[in-house]
């Protein structure tokens, strides 16, 4: 547990000093939100129908830039080789990265929320507090899988291109659940509970699989 904490504090400190990940994600997500707003000029009921999807897709695209950076940092100065030799399990390293990236993406979502409400003239008709459940669950699904696949593609050519190509297809079921749940909350037309359960199930299954397989990836030779 203390190893996890050490890794986490290190990642948070690096981000606090550079603010690379959060700034780039924030600006990218803002661009996506503005571009969609320009393309559809959303108002009223139509706005409520599409905004769930736009929010999720904006988060998804933006987080890729941060996830690519997550392991690239470790490659410089052969840090990753040192991690491989360290007598600790890779699972702790992995979980620390996931928690750090989860915090970054959540901060971006919090900062983006007011802008989003203004641009999309959003008036939430369902139970708004459920968003506090849906967004973290969806973000976790994205970040856990994304961190794992970023580690998986680290040794390949064009790794920055490869990450979205292998992450998005696997993430689609979670995206579907996230979009449907947020749309249900915004419009208030249907009950989002079942989608939230699906999202939670997805999180549990894939996080477990990632933790179990991470050592295989880290030591792949």
């Amino acid at each position: 547990m203390s190893t996890l904490w050490t890794h986490l504090v290190k990642d948070l400190r690096i981000e606090w000093r550079s603010r690379e990940a959060i700034n780039s994600m924030l600006f990218f997500a803002l661009l996506v939100v503005v571009l969609f707003s320009l393309a559809f000029s959303p108002r009223g009921a139509f706005s409520r129908e599409i905004s769930g999807g736009v929010l999720c897709v904006a988060t998804m695209f933006a987080s890729v830039s941060a996830l690519n950076q997550a392991w690239a940092r470790e490659i410089r100065h052969q840090v990753l080789d040192a991690q491989r030799m360290a007598p600790t399990s890779g699972a702790q390293l992995f979980m620390a990265k996931v928690v750090a990236n989860f915090l970054f993406v959540s901060i971006v979502q919090l900062l983006l929320a007011p802008v989003f409400l203004i641009f999309y003239n959003l008036h939430i008709l369902g139970q708004g507090w459920l968003l506090l459940l849906v967004l973290p669950l969806g973000t976790w699904a994205l970040v856990a899988n994304g961190t794992f696949f970023a580690a998986l593609s680290i040794n390949s050519r064009n790794r920055e291109l490869l990450l979205p190509l292998i992450l998005f297809p696997i993430f689609t079921p979670a995206l579907l659940a996230m979009v449907n749940a947020t749309t249900g909350i915004f419009t208030g037309e249907f009950d989002p509970t079942i989608w939230i359960k699906l999202l939670a199930g997805y999180d549990i299954i894939y996080t477990t699989a990632s933790i179990l397989l991470f050592d295989t990836i880290l030591h792949a030779e």
């Binding site: 998986l152 040794n155 390949s156 292998i166 297809p169 689609t172 579907l176 699989a209 295989t216 792949a220």
Partner: protein, 231 residues
């Protein structure tokens, strides 16, 4: 001996193709759809073959990961099944995705709808294409490990995708709920089952050829590496 057996299997497949084409053409026209229903003789079997081969691919990935430290040679054979299953599965899946809309346009008046089965098939196709992309991009022995892991992740996605598409929500219900499975007249069922068998045999033949090819390629790569070491 193996070559003779495989040759016999190929001849058997050719005979089966002729016989099943005859059966499919001479089955009586369906009551509601007329001749259009004949797509069932290759569309549905192709889907079954694709799903079966994706399962083989996942099994190959698991086999590779469990064996690659203990028995590298055997593990490579499993990796061969993983890549052959994914590749041939994608081909059959593409056949399903291309022929489906052709029929859908005639029967429903639209090319595509986000019906559970359509969505599931498309997502699976995307996942396995990404698997092949990873194999193309990554290199060396790491490639086999990484792609085996992705193969397992893809396999886990299959039931999740399937369940998520069954849930109610803003999407309309499936366009055809009961479908063919809800009943088939014996005069159509018999040629259908024959075609199912024939497509399975054909798929198996392609899969075996692809697997042999992969094994030879692995050997060639190993020889090349050895020559480079000795040079």
């Amino acid at each position: 001996m193996r070559k003779i057996l495989f040759g016999l299997f190929a001849v058997f497949n050719a005979a089966l193709a002729v016989w099943c084409f005859h059966l499919a053409n001479n089955a009586p026209a369906e009551m509601m759809q007329g001749d259009e229903y004949r797509i069932i003789f290759y569309h549905v079997p192709s889907a079954s073959v694709a799903f079966l081969f994706f399962a083989i691919s996942m099994a190959g990935s698991i086999g590779y990961l469990t064996l690659h430290r203990k028995n590298p040679t055997l593990a490579l054979a499993w990796d061969g099944w993983a890549v052959s299953g994914a590749e041939v599965g994608i081909v059959f899946c593409t056949v399903v995705l291309v022929t489906g809309p052709l029929w859908g346009y005639r029967a429903w008046g639209i090319w595509w709808t986000w019906d559970p089965r359509l969505t599931t098939t498309l997502l699976l196709w995307l996942i396995y294409v990404s698997y092949l992309l990873l194999r193309r991009f990554a290199s060396g022995a790491q490639m086999q490990t990484s792609s085996a892991v992705l193969g397992i992740f893809g396999g886990i996605a299959v039931p999740i995708v399937y369940i998520s598409n069954r849930l109610p929500g803003q999407h309309p219900g499936p366009v055809f709920g009961g479908g063919e499975g809800s009943g088939m007249a014996p005069v159509i069922l018999r040629p259908f089952l024959w075609n199912m068998f024939a497509w399975m045999c054909w798929g198996l033949m392609v899969l075996i050829v692809r697997h042999q090819l992969e094994l030879r390629q692995q050997k060639a790569v190993a020889r090349e590496a050895e020559r480079a070491l000795n040079a």
